[in-house]
């Protein structure tokens, strides 16, 4: 059965391993993946736990539909308290690890303790071993995976790994699988490193029994039809996520020079078509690859065309890499983007966070807050390609003063640097913002301000708000499965109706993160892609669990509230400058300078933003002012007695 997979509790301090079945009742409440992880984190951690202490649980999981007959179900989720933000740490990644974990018999791993020497965990067909990793420690992301496959004598082993950045406790280190499938944001790779856990290797050949296989396959045809006929996916399957970058930049929606500007000029060399061209030249015509069970294939394969890393194989870049190593740092070279991408993948570090931090340091250098003494002689001016690549290495190696300081993340670095440096840090909850400029788009601004893991585009972003969709299309999407008769506007500059869209997307993304479905197969980027009504059918045919779309929505709400409870317990208050649901002053006080007429001059109005936030809290059933779930809300969702320690 798809529900027969177990949970394993692994204590790296004692070596004790315990496994248990996951009660169906828990599935009905939290599904799996991110949703059940949120329950486990809240129940297995104490208030105020140090993220690098043995008591911080590292939770690894597969979504409920992963490895079944449903499409696009590749997603692995990892959760712990974040060493970057001190709040919820959470990341979600594609690739092939999660299906293999399920085929090896497990859905959730709760890893506690700390090994006294480097180890890796090997999971194979119901068995779990803790093994010596002295030969893996220090190896890059791809070298470590290659070495463990050789050691185990099995080329089909799939790995979850922390790179050298995680070993060195860079607070925004990723967990990685494959070459570039990254569990980015919030530093889950650093939590792995703190436990001296280099890698988790899995291999499984245990069948997953599908509840209604014939119907599941038949239904999945509809999924595939929806996915493959959506134009947004067709474009992505040619250009990858960079396809978004070109139009958005020419509109004026891309942060430049640490958010001082909003359009990168002379950007021909970093346009999506240029990366497509390089991939064609260095890898060949068929350079797009996909994750498990995916029909989109958004991952570009290429070799670095020039420079010191010429010929090195890599995958990407993504929209966020273009921001990190082009616009944010004021560079216009494809080679810098590709080299930065490669180094981040090998070190296992979040390029979005790192690029934004380098951009921040560049502005501090520009303003004289950092000097060449602080930078170790590096001329850290915007547009200096070599300086950017040097800083990537120094942060990941922590081998210079500034590299070591930035490796601590923005808030800690600002405290060390002092001198008003915090004023220029573009963050929410201590996590650097995506390089999109949300000033022209109040909905997206609310999304980044309130996302549960800090500034983020993958937790509640109504990206389709920018498409200028007819109101009838918006109405169809946003008034189901929960009726909504309030205002909706095709105008992305509006504040009215946007809180509902953000609230809706939040439930949508939680549902798919708990099922293990990729967001590119949802209304994240496509208005015609599968939805709650489709997912309940996929759940039923594959697992036998029966939900209405409304019930699935309520589960998502429950899981989002578990994350909220965790964040509130760890100190979130709405207006806290470091842990709040708020934006930094630049969003409100410095209007956009470049771009199209509907962008120039745009800023987020403080009063309207707060009104929108109150509305967003209200939809949740949270107190409008404090953002705390009311007793009534917790009772409605059946989580009034958490932590309940049922699993």
């Amino acid at each position: 059965m798809a529900l027969s997979r177990r949970i394993a509790y692994i204590d790296l301090s004692t070596g004790k391993i315990e496994t248990k079945p996951i009660p169906v009742e828990m599935r009905k409440k939290f599904l799996g993946g991110r949703g059940l992880d949120a329950y486990l984190l809240y129940n297995h951690s104490e208030k105020g736990v140090d993220p690098f202490s043995p008591e911080n649980p590292l939770i690894v999981s597969a979504g409920l539909l992963v490895g079944t007959l449903a499409s696009a179900t590749s997603r692995t989720h990892v959760m712990a308290k974040s060493p970057l933000t001190g709040l919820l740490g959470s990341c979600n990644m594609g690739g092939f690890f999660a299906p293999e974990l399920r085929w090896a018999g497990f859905d959730h791993l709760v890893i506690k303790g700390k090994a006294d020497k480097p180890v890796y965990i090997y999971i194979h067909n119901g068995e779990i071993e803790i093994r010596d990793a002295k030969n893996l420690w220090g190896k890059s992301v791809t070298e470590a995976q290659r070495a463990v496959r050789e050691e185990l004598g099995d080329p089909d082993v799939k790995c979850l790994v922390c790179g050298p950045a995680g070993e060195k406790l860079v607070r925004f280190a990723n967990v990685m699988t494959g070459v570039k499938n990254a569990g980015g944001r919030t530093g889950m790779g650093a939590v792995m490193g703190s436990k001296k856990l280099k890698l988790i290797a899995v291999r499984g050949t245990m069948d997953i029994k599908i509840a209604y296989p014939k119907e599941a396959l038949e239904f999945n045809k509809r999924f595939i039809e929806q996915i493959t006929t959506a134009k947004v996916n067709q474009t992505m399957s040619i250009l990858g996520t960079p396809f978004i970058w070109g139009a958005t930049n020419s509109w004026g929606g891309i942060r430049v020079n640490n958010f001082q500007y909003n359009q990168l000029l002379y950007a021909d060399d970093v346009e999506p078509e240029r990366f497509h061209e390089i991939a064609n030249e260095t890898f060949g015509k068929y350079h797009m690859a996909g994750c498990f069970a995916c029909q989109v294939h958004c991952r570009t394969r290429y070799r670095i065309p020039d420079g010191p890393y010429k010929g090195c194989y890599d995958e990407g870049p993504e929209y966020t890499t273009q921001g990190a190593f082009a616009s944010e740092v004021g560079c216009t070279s494809a080679l810098t983007v590709l080299t930065g991408n490669y180094l981040c993948n090998q070190y296992g570090v979040d390029w979005l966070e790192l690029g934004s931090l380098i951009a921040w340091a560049m502005e501090l250098y520009e303003k004289g807050i950092l000097t060449s003494k602080d930078t170790g002689g590096i001329d850290l001016r915007f547009g200096n390609d070599e300086a950017v690549i040097e800083m990537v290495k120094h942060v990941c190696e922590r081998d210079t003063y500034l590299g070591d300081v930035l490796a601590e993340g923005g808030l800690r670095a600002a405290e060390i640097i002092g001198k008003d440096s915090i004023k220029y840090l573009i963050h929410v909850k201590g996590m650097q913002n995506l390089h999109s400029d949300e000033r022209p788009t109040p909905a997206l601004a609310l999304n980044v301000a309130t996302a549960s893991r800090g500034s983020d585009h993958l937790r509640s972003r109504p990206a389709i708000d920018l498409y200028h969709l007819p109101e009838a299309v918006l109405r169809k999407i946003y008034s189901s499965p929960i009726p909504y008769e309030g205002p909706l506007s095709s105008d992305f500059r509006e504040y009215v109706g946007k809180a509902w869209q953000v609230f809706w997307q939040e439930q949508c993304y939680m549902a798919v993160d708990s099922l293990g479905i990729c967001k590119y197969h949802t209304t994240f980027l496509g208005a015609t892609l599968p939805n709650f009504e489709d997912w309940v059918k996929a759940i039923y045919f594959n697992t036998g669990l029966e939900f209405t779309p409304q019930e699935l929505w309520t589960i998502a709400e429950r899981c989002n509230n578990m994350e909220r409870l965790f964040n509130l317990r760890e100190g979130l208050t709405p207006d806290d400058p470091y842990k709040g649901d708020r934006l930094v002053d630049r969003y409100h006080d410095e209007p956009a300078k470049r771009g199209a007429p509907d962008v120039v001059g745009s800023y987020i109005d403080r009063e309207k933003f707060l009104k929108m936030r109150e509305e967003f809290y209200r939809y949740h059933g949270w107190d409008e002012k404090t953002g705390v779930p009311t007793e009534e809300t917790l009772k409605r969702l059946g989580i009034e007695n958490e932590p309940s320690h049922l699993l």
């Binding site: 006929t229 067709q234 509109w251 999109s436 498409y467």
Partner: protein, 88 residues
């Protein structure tokens, strides 16, 4: 035949454009759009004359992909040109 065209602000220098055009296919309607507003052409079509990857055309709120230019329209239809602008 009269068809209403609603053009994303991105394609028209930051301003939404609504106009009535004539044509029996999307392609014919767009030809008239370009005749009236030639500055839109570059953002709408690539060098090979294909609709750009970041533009999707809806007729009465339904996607016309993959037919796009050959998709038939009739009197009273509403054609939306949407753009995958994003931050995702």
């Amino acid at each position: 035949m009269s068809v209403k065209l609603v053009v994303h602000p991105f394609l028209n220098d930051g301003k939404e454009l609504q106009l009535e055009v004539n044509g029996s296919t999307v392609g014919e309607c767009l030809k008239e759009l370009i005749r009236l507003h030639p500055h839109i052409e570059d953002k709408l079509f690539d060098k090979k004359g294909k609709i750009r990857g970041y533009v999707e055309i809806l007729v009465n709120s339904k996607s016309t992909y993959p037919e796009e230019l050959s998709y038939p329209v009739k009197d009273g239809d509403v054609v939306n040109l949407i753009v995958f602008l994003s931050g995702g």
